[in-house]
């Protein structure tokens, strides 16, 4: 059996044996990603409408930590799966490739934690992809109705609390039970695992596609999408309050309706920013940021435009989460209030020496470093700037994100 992926596995095994600390770090990285996904999942009441913050950067760092490059992975999988498979975006994506490699390592070395964690992280992305494709604008109230009243007990959605438990407690063990032995014998079967993972999750959304004779389009006869669309058409929803009352008089109807508004706001604002690559900014905003930061108008414009990139989805999502948390936003009206920008300046831009501020700094630094490399073509320049200049540059990022937040929420 000749397999290039197996050769990569041999390299990993040698490296890990030479440096046990490296293996520990990889395991820690995987566990951290899973822990983050859990935290997001627990903190949300979106149910099966939930979408994970994809750990793209963390997985990219894993590739570097393993001493590999995306090219190494691509060549190995291309050799094993054939160049035809590589025409598919999913098959040639280093995100999936490195996780499959780690899963293979876990199978061969009988390290179940590495194996299962790698597979689970891989499934997170597949879940996000399928969910976005079929239920891009998913209403959690409709979904709750569908899961509670329309799914029978055999349906997986009715048996698990949300996507995290579905992926971890159902898909990971079933996929491993079926394919672990096959993969152990032949690493080329990793392709089968990837395709099966995709197929099985896809199947939950749409099943038994048939051509509708009237419309000529393919329509699903089963799956959650069909049930969801039916419930939506009939206006069937369930509202579940999750925020407790703030005032002396107990929770009002308004408090209930704004329950979990923050998640919705963050998601819609992040989607708006990352999915609109050709946004232009008003001159007034750029001049104001220029006045505050003394950064040239040209640079501000370039940084703001560079934000509109799907690669930065996770980071922008987290930045928004901190901004809304620091400004104590509970509902959309808070963002449109005239005092909101003042609160951003006071509690976000000028805030120092607290955990949120430090996290925000890190996130903005990640974005700026990427933008300096990819957009401004000034690699290493960001790190050379003094801490005080980095503060000015971070102000541009926060101002841009807050502008977009208000634009989408207060339009």
């Amino acid at each position: 059996m000749s397999s290039k992926v197996h050769e990569l596995y041999d390299k990993l095994r040698t490296d890990f044996h030479a440096s046990p600390n490296l293996e520990r770090q990889v395991l820690q990285d995987l566990s951290r990603i899973i822990a983050n996904a859990y935290t997001q999942s627990i903190g949300s009441d979106e149910g099966f409408c939930f979408k994970f913050n994809l750990p793209i950067m963390a997985v990219n760092k894993l590739i570097t930590r393993l001493g590999l490059t995306p090219k190494d992975l691509l060549e190995a999988y291309k050799a094993d799966w054939g160049s035809r498979a590589m025409t598919n975006n999913m098959h040639k994506d280093p995100y999936y490739q490195v996780l499959l490699l780690l899963m293979y390592y876990g199978i061969q070395e009988r390290k179940d934690i590495i194996r299962d964690n790698a597979l689970l992280i891989l499934l997170l992305r597949i879940w996000n992809g399928r969910k976005s494709k079929f239920l891009k604008f998913c209403d959690k109230r409709i979904m709750k109705y569908v899961v509670s009243h329309m799914c029978n007990k055999r349906h997986l959605f009715a048996r698990y609390d949300g996507p995290m438990s579905l992926l971890k407690d159902y898909y990971v063990p079933t996929l491993m039970k079926t394919y672990a032995d096959q993969v152990k014998r032949d690493p080329k079967k990793l392709q089968r695992v990837l395709e099966q993972a995709w197929g099985r999750i896809h199947q939950q959304f749409v099943q038994q596609g048939r051509i509708n004779i009237k419309t000529g389009k393919s329509e699903a006869q089963g799956g959650i999408l069909r049930m969801y669309m039916k419930a939506k058409k009939e206006g069937l929803t369930i509202s579940t309050p999750t925020i407790s009352g703030m005032g002396d008089e107990g929770p009002s109807f308004g408090d209930y309706t704004t329950a979990n508004n923050r998640d919705e706001i963050i998601n819609s604002a992040t989607d708006f920013i990352t999915m609109n690559p050709k946004t232009t900014y008003p001159q007034k905003l750029i001049s104001e940021v220029n006045r505050q930061t003394r950064i040239s108008v040209k640079t501000i414009d370039a940084i703001l435009k560079a934000l509109h990139n799907h690669q930065y989805y996770d980071v922008i999502h987290d930045v928004l989460s901190i901004v809304l948390s620091r400004t104590n936003v509970l509902q959309k009206a808070d963002i449109c209030s005239p005092t909101f920008l003042g609160a951003v300046k006071k509690n976000v831009i000028s805030s120092k020496n607290n955990a949120d501020a430090r996290k925000l700094q890190k996130l903005c630094n990640i974005l700026l470093k990427e933008i300096f490399i990819n957009t401004l073509s000034l690699p290493d320049a960001y790190d050379k700037f003094s801490i005080t200049h980095q503060i000015q540059l971070r102000t541009v990022i926060v101002s841009g994100i807050v502008y977009n937040l208000r634009k989408i929420i207060c339009k």
Binding site: N290, L378, A381, T388, H389
Partner: protein, 242 residues
């Protein structure tokens, strides 16, 4: 003759070898020096962590302490000139604030051991402390130097003013004394506004290529130029009272 030619040839070869050795040694030396310099440059963080960001409260404290400095420097100023000088100082400090804000560093106070705490001292104590700072500066840069040393040290800076004064009909010796005084006062006024580290930072940012790519460097240059003009005018006034 042959022997002579042989000797000459050998001498030529030897001298060529020696020359090439010297050239190589020089090259090696300059290479190692260059390597060392480049290593040192790589080690520099260009003051990345040195400065704190701009702080309006710190600026207000600085203005109050600097006002005490000017009280000392302008003790002998004629009362009639006071309103105009005050206007000039206010205008100067607007520019100074703009520069600190522009480069985003915390406004700094001049003088070893001098900080805003001096404002809590008695008038006598604060005057004594500030006079000491001013005196030490003047002693180091003016009084301890002989007349020729002063002229030599400040030649580049004072020559234009001396020329102007002479053209206006002043005595050469008087013109030179006044010009040197003006140079010294200009330097102390600059130091009060921007102590060494802050001024070095401002100058560095005026010339830094990377900074210019991202920030409005030309606006900073314009501000610094305005500042230089203003301190030049103020220094002439201060020089008349010292």
């Amino acid at each position: 003759m042959d022997m002579f030619n042989q000797q000459e040839e050998q001498l030529m070869v030897e001298s060529k070898e020696t020359l090439s050795k010297i050239v190589q040694a020089k090259k090696m030396k300059s290479e190692t020096e260059l390597q060392e310099v480049s290593k040192n440059i790589a080690r520099l963080d260009r003051g990345k962590y040195f400065f704190e960001d701009y702080d309006q409260v710190a600026y207000e404290g600085k203005v109050r302490v600097d006002t005490l400095y000017y009280d000392q420097l302008l003790q002998k100023l004629e009362e009639g000139m006071l309103p105009n000088v005050q206007k000039a100082i206010i205008s100067l400090y607007t520019t100074i604030n703009n520069i600190y804000e522009f480069v985003n560093i915390k406004p700094d106070i001049y003088g070893k051991g001098i900080n805003v705490d001096i404002l809590n001292d008695s008038i006598e104590t604060s005057r004594r402390k500030l006079s000491k700072v001013i005196y030490e500066y003047l002693d180091r840069n003016f009084y301890s130097l002989t007349a020729s040393q002063r002229k030599e040290k400040y030649f580049d800076e004072h020559k234009d003013l001396t020329k102007t004064l002479v053209n206006e009909g002043a005595d050469l010796e008087d013109a030179m004394i006044f010009s040197v005084k003006t140079c010294v006062m200009e330097n102390i006024v600059r130091n009060i506004a921007f102590p060494f580290s802050a001024w070095s930072r401002v100058k560095f940012l005026c010339e830094d290529h990377d900074y210019g790519k991202i920030f409005d460097q030309h606006d900073l240059l314009a501000l610094v130029e305005t500042f230089e003009k203003k301190i030049n005018s103020l220094a002439k006034i201060v020089a008349t009272c010292v």
